[in-house]
Symmetry: C2
Subunit: 240 residues, 2 copies
């Protein structure tokens, strides 16, 4: 397992500052994970109250983003971090943008759950949707674990797994289109389900972004927009 | 007009560095604007070649993001910027993330334009789509202008105008649903058009984000997730 240790500064306050923003990111990550989980429960169980709660709690996610951003700016101004410390701060600044957007996607699913809750009929494709939801939660959880442990190998494996959600999303989309064609009256609701699926797929994308920041942080190189094959060749020896 | 001047450092190199990242952002903004414009032409004129070109050029947008990010990290490490200089660097780091995602949306529209090009039939709702496209291009252009001139008032006005795209997007979505219900065979293509519309709406959101960074940069306060009414009260005197 690749990992880094930031607890090596002579200044105890500096260590504390860095530890502090890492913990805040994990707190924000935990909240966002819960939002995604709750949004999926609201959707699958026609629970409009829970859907509303997810919508309402998005302000907490947003507030954390602003707070962590401020903390990062202050660390840069006060501590003038260099090398891996600076990479940590920059990775945090990027990570929280993606976490905030995952929060937005959860909010959208919560909102759609309310609209869909009036119709308690749950066709077969909801099982498929549940599966995509599980995959999104797993990749998000794994990305946050990789961040917590600064584990580049785990980040790489997780980033790679995003393709599975994309494939599953494509399959689900085809199923939904067939349903729309079969029953005109269902178009509006099936369309709403397809927006939920799209949000889940985006949660996968954002989680993949977080993994790329972890690799950048640990390996010291920006790996965004580089193919996974190239990344493996350059940074990881084990063939997978 | 509110504006700032960054050309006041005793170190000429520092001024040059700051000017340099601003110019790179404007270069990236110009490229992204062109991508959005080309994607819309490809879509409206069933030009699959141009759609392909938009898809292919997305790598240029991505490369610029990585390059600017590196330049920002280097400025922080080398120059240890404080106050408004640091805010500029942080605003740039955030802005290019949104520009990159606008590029992704343009790429998606380009991709969908190719799929839709085989069907040269252009129903009435394409005019409506063109209107939403025009609005997206306008808000993006205005956001970039506000950034170029560091004009907080223009940024505020532009951010406010995002609501118009959201409204227009909702209207268009309703029109598209009606079309799907009327003609089953058209569902797949109408759905593709609705994905394009969604991408345009997101371009509006990202442009609004850029405006918020400009306000943060000029006014020194993070205004994300605050209602526009509150922002006006706090920072702008003119009633609008």
């Amino acid at each position: 397992m690749e990992h880094m240790d930031f607890g090596r500064h002579t200044s105890r306050e500096f260590n504390q500052d860095l530890e502090n923003i890492r913990n805040m990111v994990l707190e924000m990550g935990g909240l966002v994970e819960q939002q995604v989980g709750d949004a999926m429960i609201a959707l699958l169980q026609s629970n409009s109250e829970l859907g509303q709660q997810v919508e309402d709690r998005d302000v907490e996610v947003n507030a954390l983003e602003v707070k962590i951003d401020e903390a990062c700016t202050q660390i840069i101004a006060k501590r003038q971090p260099a090398a891996s410390d600076l990479r940590l701060v920059m990775a945090v600044v990027k990570t929280i943008t993606d976490l905030e957007r995952i929060g937005d996607e959860a909010e959208k699913i919560g909102h759609l759950a309310i609209k869909l809750a009036t119709d308690t009929h749950r066709p077969e494709y909801y099982r498929h949707l549940e599966l995509v939801g599980q995959m999104a939660k797993t990749i998000l959880g794994n990305a946050l674990d990789a961040f917590a442990r600064l584990d580049a190998q785990a980040a790489f494996d997780t980033a790679k797994s995003d393709r599975k959600i994309d494939d599953e999303f494509e399959t689900l989309s085809r199923v939904l289109i067939t349903h729309m064609m079969e029953d005109n009256r269902e178009i509006k609701n099936v369309l709403r389900v397809s927006w939920c699926a799209r949000s889940l797929e985006r949660i996968g994308d954002h989680s993949k972004n977080i993994c790329e920041y972890v690799i950048y942080l640990v390996k010291g190189k920006d790996v965004r927009h580089i193919s996974l094959k190239k990344i493996r060749k350059q940074f990881f020896n084990n063939p997978k």
